[in-house]
């Protein structure tokens, strides 16, 4: 049964709520009463639950199976976290309550901040950014504020070719000119080229480490030192922190700022595209420029640093990034995850994630081109190219073929530095048994691509939809429902 839109089954006079009746009174809306029909369609509760339950069944999630989407770290989302976030003491408090009435909430933020700083060996953390890209912006603005504070008008941010698109977009948004840093043959930053480019116009280098090819940048410390010597800052994209958490601390590698995707490394749910949460750890050089609000503890009391006391307590802060204090609901989940694992468990997380990825890399490299496999082990994700596919067969075909085998595909065509890239990230919460099954399916589909199996070009065949026409969608965008 196809599930039609609510606008095709509900009605403006249908509703799934009961409300107390409104007594007679004189409205005080100043003549602005809404008179026209709004066009919001309602359903009874029974129909509503069914509508969304049916829709949900058209989706694939981690709960259903392996989700090897590289760079997205689709790990198990513990249900304890959901339960903790829903305690009324966290879920039902207002951001502007008197601070004396939210001491537990402030303490929780402080505790999570403490873990993040210790796990990264960094002296400060800005908690309010709402997602990874927002965290990047926070880091770059802190860098810019720090440079401005010393009267240094640098204009360029260097970004590796393989970077997430958010990196250049963020730098541009903050008013910087973006220049690419090339990669070397082994998939790492070309350190010599980077060093050569450094100079008084370079404000920062944005590096993803482990990088988007799934490799650790072995020269990270060398790079940091060079960048610092050149008077610039090192921004580290922390999207892949999962590979090293508990084993390696970015602060030990000379990083000045790094955002941490709580929804990646610390298991808060992705929810079909958010909400995320992107706290940013900062070096001593950048800490004074961190945005407010921030939580401080004085004596036994927690308080917020915000507009009213920023001059006194955070005079160099670059200001406010969001209306309130950040993604509290994600903080509770992340802290629940972190405390459940502890320092020992988090180390194991990194180890198992890396082990799983290398296991896939080594189990596939005989049938699939793994451009960097020769240079050694990968970190949390294994990267392959489309080399060897039959004519006309593409990475997209393999991805859609995997759907028919019951899997969510890996990340496709990213990073751009690898032709027809397939980026496979298993995370630590996949069992050997499930990975073995995936490897068998992946090998089967890859073989079809190499054999030129025509039916693969029209996959998926067993999904809720066949291939969707994205070009048509973009050519004539239909973004809202309209009656035919």
């Amino acid at each position: 049964l196809e599930e039609v839109l609510i606008f095709e089954k509900g009605g403006v006079d249908r509703s799934g709520v009961d409300l107390e009746s409104v007594p007679e009174f004189t409205s005080r809306l100043g003549g602005l009463e809404r008179t026209e029909e709004i066009g919001l369609f309602g359903l009874s509760e029974a129909e509503t639950v069914r509508h969304y339950t049916r829709l949900s069944r058209q989706n694939y999630g981690i709960d259903l199976g392996f989700f090897p989407l590289g760079s997205c770290t689709m790990k198990h989302n513990p249900r304890l976290n959901e339960k903790m976030a829903r305690l009324p003491g966290f879920a039902d408090i207002h951001p502007l309550q008197p601070q004396s009435t939210v001491q537990g909430a402030l303490e929780l933020i402080d505790q999570l901040a403490g873990w993040l700083m210790k796990l990264t060996n960094m002296p400060a953390v800005a908690m309010s950014p709402k997602a990874g890209a927002h965290g990047e912006l926070c880091g770059i603005l802190a860098i810019r504020a720090a440079l401005e504070a010393r009267g240094d008008a640098r204009e360029v941010v260097l970004v590796p070719e393989s970077a997430h698109g958010t990196n250049p977009a963020t730098a541009a948004f903050a008013g910087y000119k973006v220049e690419n840093i090339p990669a070397n043959a082994s998939g790492r930053v070309d350190v010599d080229a980077l060093k050569a480019r450094l100079g008084p116009d370079v404000a920062a280098v944005m590096i993803t480490n482990p990088n988007t090819c799934g490799l650790f940048e072995p020269d990270m410390k060398v790079i940091s030192d060079a960048v610092h010597t050149a008077g610039a800052f090192v921004y580290c994209d922390g999207a892949n922190f999962n590979a090293i958490v508990g084993r390696v601390r970015p602060g030990d590698l000379g990083v000045d700022a790094m955002h941490i995707n709580l929804h990646k490394t610390f298991s808060t749910p992705h929810g079909g595209g958010g909400p995320g949460s992107g706290p940013v750890v900062l070096s001593a050089a950048l800490a004074p420029f961190a945005p407010f609000p921030m939580v401080r503890k004085v004596g036994g009391e927690y308080h917020l640093v915000e507009e009213e006391n920023a001059d006194a307590e955070a005079a160099n802060s670059f200001g406010r990034m969001v209306a309130f204090h950040g993604q509290m609901g994600m903080f509770t989940r992340a802290l629940s995850y972190i405390m459940s694992h502890g320092a020992d468990g988090l180390r194991q997380v990194a180890e198992d994630a890396v082990l799983n990825a290398n296991y896939i890399l080594r189990s596939m490299e005989d049938v699939l081109d793994a451009p960097f496999a020769a240079s050694g082990p990968c970190m949390h994700e294994a990267i392959f190219s489309d080399k060897g596919f039959a004519d006309g067969m593409t990475t997209l075909d393999v991805a859609k073929g995997l759907i028919d085998e019951g899997y969510h595909p890996m990340t496709m065509y990213f990073p751009l530095v690898v032709h027809g890239a397939m980026l496979v990230e298993p995370t630590e919460t996949e069992s050997k048994r499930d990975i073995d099954q995936f490897i068998a399916a992946f090998r089967y589909v890859v073989q079809r691509a190499k054999d030129g199996d025509a039916s693969l070009s029209t996959a998926p065949h067993h999904a809720p939809r066949r291939r969707l026409d994205e070009t048509a969608a973009a050519r004539n965008p239909q973004l809202v429902w309209a009656k035919e």
Binding site: Q58, L69, A172, V248, M321, F324, S340, G345, L468
Partner: protein
């Protein structure tokens, strides 16, 4: 380690298969000096689920829960009743544990929901189109300002004095780096002075005028003259809605001519959560769609001609355009958008209008009761469910005393506008369907004593 499936035997077998001796052999790229030999010092080891629960209950119990007594806070975050089915549905694993719908064939659930959400937001706002959500209202507001700049190629932006001060603060932070020029106002009782300022300031250099509706002190004002003036000058009118329930009662910003309407969707389906995650709403006229930030879901067909939905116009976005993108955003607030959409579907137009009138009626009732007290004056004359109240003493202290007596009475203007002495005695009071007559009676009687 309850979340980790691999056991010792698995790890051994896999290391063998890989052809290395130990896990350390997989970390050889990490310089020795940066490798930690054991768990990080100064941190606790793993604990049981029960122990985690105890810890969190301990922290939660230190907070004063909104639902435990009379509660009248608003100022950009509103406490509404969310039906139980909303939270049930958003916890379905297929919604909760899915990623961005990059593979639309197996993400139609998320995509159809987003399409429905966009339609709901556009209709509520009275705009042609809407996007798939933003981080929150304050960032949506800045993105709208930024979008207006891309459209008008101008740098001057006029912010109404009625715009939430945190939204102003966010915009100011961003403008400092982007070199946009913000003309910032201060709130006034009925918004007339501010409106006069806006009308007199807008000119051919103006990129956008930003007004909040209802505004920070609860005023609802007719925006038609302003939108006409903007249009005349080639400036865009950006309307910010922090309480979307209001739009069940008052004329939509789109109907009054707004070019871009943004908002905070928290009121519908999401809950207070100490400020986040929330959901930013973003709608605009269709002619500006290619300058919109954020994700968009569009209708299309599959290879068999069946209707389906995909993320579209991604050529605006960072993963394609990189440093030329319309914004750096690569996350929406999907699960909150889902909650918003479910709640809106449960309400339907009939329910939303009823809910809105219930809010308004309760607010009017409380305003009248408060105004009748000696030492208390309700300043806002035209409002929806929130209004400014002037006391005969600093409001912040009074609010603390109310909290001592179990009443969360409102938001002090001193906290929102630190250092503005003229506002020190004023507080904002919001009333929703969750306030009972008993709550209001108790609030009035305790306040009466405190201002006596």
């Amino acid at each position: 380690m309850r979340y980790l499936p691999l056991n010792h035997d698995d790890r051994r077998a896999m290391l063998n298969e890989i052809g290395v001796n130990s896990i350390d052999d997989l970390f050889i790229d990490v310089p020795k000096e940066a490798q930690l030999s054991g768990a990080i010092e100064g941190l606790n080891d793993h604990i049981s689920e029960m122990a985690v629960e105890r810890h969190f209950h301990g922290l939660a119990n230190k907070n004063m829960v909104a639902g435990q007594g009379p509660f009248f806070l608003g100022a950009g975050a509103y406490r509404h009743h969310v039906p139980a089915s909303v939270d049930h549905i958003i916890q379905r694993g297929e919604f909760l544990t899915a990623y961005t719908p990059y593979q639309p064939e197996i993400a139609q659930g998320t995509l159809q929901m987003l399409f429905e959400f966009q339609t709901q937001v556009a209709r509520l706002f009275g705009t042609d189109v809407a996007n798939a959500s933003m981080y929150d209202g304050s960032t949506a507001c800045w993105e709208a300002i930024s979008m207006a700049g891309r459209i008008t190629k101008r740098k001057n932006v006029i912010l109404s004095g009625g715009l939430h001060p945190h939204y102003v603060s966010v915009a100011s932070t961003m403008a400092r780096f982007t070199k946009d020029i913000l003309d910032i106002g201060m709130p006034d009782e009925n918004g007339d002075a501010d409106m006069a300022r806006l009308l007199s300031s807008v000119n051919k250099e103006t990129s956008a005028v930003v007004v909040q509706y209802p505004d920070i002190v609860g005023n609802v004002q007719d925006l038609r003259a302003l939108s006409a003036s903007c249009a005349e000058n080639g400036a865009l009118l950006i309307v910010v809605v922090t309480e979307p329930v209001a739009l069940g009662a008052v004329t939509s910003p789109g109907e009054m001519g707004a070019d871009i309407v943004v908002g905070e969707g928290q009121s519908i389906g999401v809950g207070l959560q100490f400020g986040g995650p929330y959901v930013g709403l973003f709608g605009c006229k269709s002619k500006y769609v290619r300058q919109m930030p954020g994700r968009l879901c569009g209708e299309t067909v599959d290879a068999e001609g069946k209707r389906g939905f995909v993320l579209t116009l991604s050529t605006r976005e960072q993963h394609i355009r990189r440093d030329k993108a319309t914004s750096n955003i690569c996350t929406n607030s999907g699960l909150c958008a889902l909650a918003f959409s479910i709640h809106m579907t449960l309400l339907g137009e009939k329910g939303l209008r009823h809910l809105a009138m219930l809010n308004h009626q309760k607010a009017v009732s409380l305003a009248d009761k408060l105004h009748a007290l000696d030492g208390v004056e309700v300043l806002t004359k035209q409002f929806f469910n929130e209004f400014a109240v002037k006391l005969n003493k600093p409001s912040r202290a009074v609010l603390h005393e109310l909290a001592e007596q179990g009443i969360l009475g409102g938001v002090s203007m001193e906290r929102l506008y630190p250092g503005k002495d003229a506002l020190e005695n004023i507080m904002l009071v919001a009333v929703t369907e969750t306030s009972t007559d008993e709550d209001m009676t108790r609030f009035v009687s305790v306040l009466k004593e405190l201002v006596a």
